[in-house]
């Protein structure tokens, strides 16, 4: 029964995608919304049903069909449900459903709404395939599938060529990681003869190369340094897309991959250290960038990078539960933040510059409350917010791995609180720069409400012992990851609680209402931070432009010149021989003589 449900969870969005895409816009908008949202809703219901019945540690395996079976290698398409995929399934279906519901309101007036929902449901299906797959190669189907959906959705408003370029960039940068990951798969398949995850993990081939190649895929997908440049540009897509794909689900696929294959990574200390380092660097760089952004969605994008950096840090520190916990809470509060931001953007005529907003708290108190809840969770304000607990767990894990990592993470936490409350103070307080119109409809308000509550109370499923001995998530995941690490000294908890508060206070000092808003000095560092630390320029100069320029130079194909040269030689030879046909008797006689001599020579000296 559960097996059937598992299939249906994937089948519903897939079917909806097929219907919506094949209808080619001939369906009324309302029906489109119902089909799109309803299918994911059904999946969510079924996921809940499966979750309540299958909390036992035994995992459920649903083989579907054999994909490729050749000499020395075979792979099947099969789903598996274990605690990790259970958690991911719930996140994807529930958050996905709420975001689709929100999108019904957000995209109401778009003529292409059928295409939008088609892509969105296709994305949900692909993400579920990614999550459920018990075989790395069928996981790769979902992995690339979410990538292409991300491409389609970032470039959804394709009349603007900037959107198209952003979409292409997102796909290509992640594709670089995907190619690395594919190489990793090839390596594993060659070593082990299978890509089935369970046997692969039962006897992990301690291959540093494989771990690093897979890490490449994860880094690109999760927008970590040095392949993080696509994520800020990806904000060109509609806001529900940013919420679903570029905050809650797809970008965390890298975290999921590493968690899923953690024995493989744990066997290679260098890879673990690299993961942690990448996490730390991204977390600090992105937080620094977020501090100086002016576009509300870009702030959130950098914040996403930074938070995924936390997850990588946790993974690298071996705190697997912490990473997944943060993944869940982050999915909730970041989706909430994006949707709230989207609501703001809709009301202020599609403006995204925070300096053009201001004072919106009174005009839209509901949205403000939602944004505030999300921001509090993001900053990790103690006790009341989900983000606090997950971040606390990561800090504990980092402390155990290396106090330096902990210090960096703490610095990041400070910056997080500062940049998100900077955003709040500028957008919702102070003088009003624009008059919001309309109101946020029910379809948009309901998801905000749900997620707002979750962002506050969702963390209570797992708390430090010092507060309350609740370990729902850790216990659920422990069959997979082993027992969670013991907690550190209690001053760790105090520091972790106080730093975000300090950050809020700092933001208050700098950007509080009714003072002249603090503008950071416009120096080189700030400019660099705003442009994402110059990675874009670097890649553009080093790779993209030389590559394209050389290609342009060779547009007519140098090999073609070779064949042209042959033709030219033949033609020149013909012209030369043609000149010999002068019609002059004596010349002909000379050639006859020469020929005779040559023949004689051949005959005389055989």
């Amino acid at each position: 029964m559960d097996a059937l449900f598992l299939k249906l969870i994937v089948a519903f969005p897939l079917l909806a995608a097929a219907i919506l895409l094949l209808s080619a816009g001939r369906m009324p908008a309302r029906a489109t919304c119902v089909i799109g949202t309803g299918s994911v809703g059904l999946s969510a219901l079924m996921a809940a049903r499966v979750a309540t019945h299958a909390t036992s540690p035994a995992s459920l395996h649903v083989p579907l069909w054999s994909w490729m079976r050749v000499e020395g290698f075979s792979t099947r398409i099969a789903f598996t449900l274990d605690p990790l995929s259970l958690v991911m399934m719930l996140v994807v279906t529930f958050v996905g459903f709420l975001i689709l519901l929100y999108a019904c309101g957000y995209m109401r007036d778009d003529p292409d709404i059928a295409r939008f929902f088609g892509y969105m449901t296709l994305f949900v299906a692909a993400m579920l395939v990614l999550v459920f797959s018990s075989d790395l190669l069928s996981l790769y189907i979902g992995w690339e599938g979410v990538g292409i959906c991300s491409y389609l959705l970032i470039g959804f408003w394709h009349i603007d060529s900037a959107n198209v370029a952003a979409a292409r960039k997102a796909f290509i940068v992640t594709r670089i990681g995907d190619a690395a990951m594919l190489c990793g798969l090839l390596l594993l398949a060659t070593r082990a003869g299978t890509l089935e995850i369970a046997p692969l993990l039962a006897a992990p081939p301690a291959s540093a190369t494989a771990a690093f190649l897979l890490l490449g895929g994860a880094v690109a997908k999760s927008a970590q340094a040095p392949l993080q440049t696509w994520l800020p540009d990806a904000m060109a897509g509609p806001t529900p897309v940013s919420a679903l794909i570029h905050a809650a689900t797809m970008v965390t696929a890298g975290v999921y991959l590493i968690a899923r294959l953690h024995p493989l990574f744990a066997a290679v200390p260098a890879a673990m250290a690299t993961v942690a380092l990448i996490g730390l660097v991204t977390l600090l760089l992105a937080a620094g960038s977020a501090l100086v952004q002016t576009d509300i969605k870009r702030i959130l994008a950098y914040s996403t990078m930074s938070q995924i950096g936390y997850m990588f840090l946790a993974l690298g520190a071996g705190a697997w539960q912490a990473a997944i916990f943060h993944l869940v809470t982050h999915a909730v509060f970041k989706a909430l933040l994006f949707m709230a931001a989207g609501a703001v953007i809709l009301r202020v005529h599609h403006r995204q510059d925070i300096y053009q907003m201001g004072g919106l708290a009174r005009a839209m108190p509901g949205v403000f409350a939602a944004f505030l809840a999300g921001a509090a969770a993001l900053a990790g304000l103690p006790l009341l917010t989900a983000g606090f607990y997950s971040k606390e767990m990561i800090l504990q894990g980092a402390w155990h791995a290396n106090p330096l990592l902990w210090a960096g993470a703490l610095l990041g936490a400070l910056a997080t609180a500062v940049y998100i409350f900077r955003c709040i103070f500028i957008v919702f307080f102070g003088p009003r720069h624009t008059d919001p119109t309309g109101r946020t409809g029910a379809t948009m308000a309901l998801p905000l409400l749900c997620l707002g509550i979750l962002a506050l109370v969702g963390g209570w499923i797992d708390m430090p012992d010092a507060i309350a001995p609740v370990h729902l998530l850790s216990r659920l995941l422990s069959p997979l990851f082993g027992a969670p690490t013991a907690e550190g000294p209690s001053w760790l908890l105090w520091t972790g609680s106080l730093v975000p508060l300090a950050g809020v206070g700092l933001a208050w000092l700098l950007w509080r209402p009714r003072i002249r808003a603090f503008t950071p000095p416009e120096d080189a560092v700030a400019r660099l931070a705003r442009t994402g630390w110059g990675f874009d320029t670097l890649y553009d100069t080093l790779v993209v432009r030389p590559f394209v320029a050389l290609g342009r130079l060779n547009q007519t194909d140098i090999c073609d010149r070779l064949s042209d040269a042959t033709a030219a030689t033949a033609r020149a030879g013909g012209r030369m021989l043609g000149r010999m046909q002068s019609g002059q008797v004596r010349r002909y006689a000379g050639w006859i003589a020469a020929g005779t001599i040559a023949a004689l020579c051949l005959g005389a000296w055989p």
């Binding site: 002068s582 002059q584 008797v585 004596r586 003589a593």
Partner: protein, 103 residues
């Protein structure tokens, strides 16, 4: 009769042939070229005669007769062409100018 060696005659034939060829290639006057061709023909005839003498066979002289008729026909036509060219306004008989196969 004598100790005449046909091999020496062959060598002479080669010399005559080369000389005739030199004339054909070097001279521009059609008349002189024709004469040089006669030398070459005669060289060939000499070679045949020498071969016939070597093998005590009359075929050599038979071939000489063939060459003779060939030379006669060639001389007749060649000289007719020369006369024609001369009459047609090309008194120099320059072989290098008649390279268009017409007029």
């Amino acid at each position: 009769m004598s100790t005449t060696s046909p091999a020496q005659a062959l060598l002479l034939a080669a010399v005559l042939f080369a000389t005739g060829m030199l004339g054909v290639l070097a001279r521009r006057n059609l008349l002189l070229m024709l004469m040089s061709i006669e030398i070459m023909l005669n060289a060939a005839a000499l070679a045949f005669i020498a071969a016939g003498a070597r093998w005590h066979a009359p075929q050599g002289q038979v071939m000489f007769l063939m060459i003779l008729s060939l030379a006669a026909a060639e001389a007749a036509i060649g000289l007719a062409i020369i006369l024609r060219l001369h009459a047609a306004g090309r008194p120099t008989l320059d072989a290098d100018t008649g390279n268009r196969l017409k007029g």
